[in-house]
């Protein structure tokens, strides 16, 4: 026993001494080490370790003040029976499906029109402007535009004989209104991505199809859509991941209301983490979002066979 205790340090010190002898890291390796050092520190401290830590926190009950208490899988059991969580998940899925599908249809159509009729940078610049503004500014400006009493949109609806709408104030309309606001901000961005995709399709394809007498709609269906598949896959996948985490617009406009109509998953997590300071349960919620997104993305990558262009 004592022999072993004595030999361990001597082996260690021997190893230390001889290490530079056999494996002196080259000049290139030392330079590389210095070049990647800051980024690696950033990666470890703000990505890798928090990821692990978030996982560990989700097994505890912790209010940030007293010491965390280990509760095993209890947070995850609770989550499966939490009706408000399941509702938030449902609301989020509703948001994601409508938001992504409407936006992609709109962007595809708009991209096709712009591609067909104009190369103007001005048109592209105009449609991208909303994307350059923050979600907060966009949310505020639309709250003003659709204000029930003073908003210009409601004035217009009055003139058209439709009548004033409560929009964000109504449980039936609030989620759709938030979706509209986000589509307004994002559609131009998706359009630009599709335009970039359209520009990579060789014009000969269309010329050949035109000679064969294919109508414009047929050409769109049989040439444009299939060749655009990688871009569509990219926009759908990133769109789903992004809109699954919608927060800013809801934090500024409805804060989950009215009557929970816009309580999406990240807002729910925010409530638990930063209003009730229940770090354990909110981390468990966050981890479940992570698992859901990984699963969703894996399914989509398989469905789209993303990245494989038919060009």
């Amino acid at each position: 026993m004592s022999d072993l205790a004595n030999t361990v340090p001597s082996v260690a010190s021997q190893g230390l001494k001889s290490a530079p002898f056999f494996r002196m890291p080259g000049r290139e390796t030392r330079a590389a080490f210095l070049f990647i050092l800051p980024a690696t520190v950033g990666f470890l401290v703000f990505y890798a370790l928090p990821f692990v830590r978030g996982f560990l926190i989700s097994f505890t009950n912790w209010d940030l003040v007293t010491a965390p208490e280990f509760v095993g899988l209890r947070n995850f059991e609770r989550l499966l029976n939490d009706q408000r969580f399941l509702n938030a998940l449902g609301t989020t899925i509703q948001y994601v499906v409508i938001n992504v599908s409407v936006q992609i249809l709109l962007a595809l159509l708009l991209a096709a029109f712009i591609h067909r009729f104009t190369q103007s940078i001005v048109v592209r610049a105009i449609i991208i402007v909303p994307y350059l503004l923050s979600n907060v500014v966009v949310a505020l400006l639309w709250m003003w535009m659709i204000d029930p009493r003073l908003g210009i949109v409601n004035e217009l609806l009055m003139t058209l004989g439709i009548g004033r709408q409560p929009f964000l104030g109504s449980p039936d309309q609030a989620l759709l209104t938030v979706i509209f606001i986000n589509i307004w901000r994002h559609a131009g961005y998706s359009t630009l991505l599709f335009l970039a995709g359209l520009q990579t399709i060789p014009t000969e394809y269309y010329e050949a199809a035109a000679i064969d007498g294919a109508s414009e709609i047929r050409r769109f269906w049989n040439i444009t859509l299939p060749l655009l598949r990688p871009v569509i896959a990219f926009v759908v996948i990133t769109g789903i991941i992004g809109s699954f985490q919608v927060f800013d617009t809801i934090a500024v406009t409805t804060q989950g209301g009215p009557a929970g109509a816009t309580r999406v998953i990240v807002w729910y997590i925010y409530e638990y983490a930063f209003q009730r300071f229940n770090m354990g349960y909110s981390s468990a919620l966050a981890m479940s979002v992570f698992l859901l997104l990984v699963l969703l993305t894996a399914i989509q990558v398989r469905l789209f066979r993303a990245g494989e262009s038919q060009l």
Partner: protein, 303 residues
């Protein structure tokens, strides 16, 4: 000698109609994209009492810069209260300064340190290089909400809540996107210049600063524009760690302003003036670097 057959005339009419419909749609969408921005400015420049009396005038009513002065803290508290402001001190010039500090630090650090790492990943040989790079890229897949809580806890432990370093820290040293983006570009640079410099005895640091960075100016600017827009508009993280006025950014300030404004009678003049202040840098960027900005966005995430 051209003969216009009925079929040809019909086809021409068809094309003309298609063109009109196409342009009508493009025009309508452009209008929907642009009009709200005008409405922000129109409201910001309208005398605050008049937004109730005339809700449809397309031009500012009794045009005034009072609202803008008010949100920039140039007007006394009594005067601000008199026009229906919340009376809370609002000084968007301070928040503007904070946003500029946060964006500059965050983009500066992110670009320099990510470029260093990207250069090593693209050019230098070292143990575990490819494995480490895959890990960096894998971090792209981690949703922000997952690291949010642990990072907030870390900031509390470091006592960095309500400090600039707290707001900037998580992205200052790298973002997976920036490293990935720059590595892709560095891989495509011709090695000849670097090899020539190496023969002349230049070290890796010299090659990086004197050759690699200068020839990569275009992608560096592209990346900086993309990151600057993201940082400028970021909300959730600065909301958590930077609520204090001395470090509060414009987006957080607008959120706070909105929450402080009376529910029944919101201070729209003030909010739109604040929103306009927050829009100015973006619009300036657009005026001076319009084409490059559009192309950056188009090119950014795809590559």
């Amino acid at each position: 000698m051209s003969v216009v057959t009925p079929a040809k005339a019909n086809k021409r009419l068809h094309i003309a109609l298609g063109r009109i419909v196409g342009w009508a749609i493009i025009g309508m969408i452009s209008f929907i994209m642009i009009f709200p921005l005008w409405w922000v400015l129109r409201t910001a420049l309208t005398e605050s009492g008049s937004i109730y009396t005339n809700t449809t005038s397309l031009l500012p009513i009794n045009p005034t810069t009072f609202n803008l002065e008010r949100v920039l803290g140039l007007v006394s508290r009594e005067e601000a209260l008199a026009v229906g402001g919340s009376g809370a001190t609002i000084d968007f010039s301070l928040f503007l300064r904070n946003s500029i500090i946060v964006t500059t630090l965050s983009v500066g650090g992110q670009v320099i340190f990510s470029a260093m790492a990207a250069y090593a990943f693209a050019r230098l040989k070292f143990p575990l290089r490819d494995r480490l790079f895959s890990l960096f890229v894998a971090a792209l897949m981690i949703p922000a909400v997952v690291t949010l809580i642990p990072n907030f806890v870390l900031m509390r432990e470091l006592n960095w809540i309500n400090t600039f370093q707290g707001i900037v820290a998580p992205r200052f040293l790298m973002t997976p996107f920036a490293v990935f983006f720059l590595r892709q570009f560095f891989l495509g640079i011709n090695r000849e210049l670097e090899e020539a410099a190496q023969i002349d005895g230049a070290g890796y640091a010299t090659i990086f600063w004197r050759i690699v960075l200068p020839v990569s100016l275009t992608p560096l600017i592209t990346l900086s524009i993309l990151l600057a827009i993201t940082e400028w508009n970021d909300y959730l993280w600065p909301l958590l760690v930077g609520r204090d006025e001395n470090v509060r950014t414009l987006t957080v300030a607008l959120g706070v302003f909105r929450q402080q404004t009376p529910q029944g009678l919101p201070d729209w003049s003030g909010m739109m003036a604040g929103a306009f202040v927050a829009m100015i840098p973006t619009l300036l960027l657009f005026l001076f670097l319009g084409r490059r900005t559009v192309n950056s966005i188009q090119f950014g995430p795809l590559k």
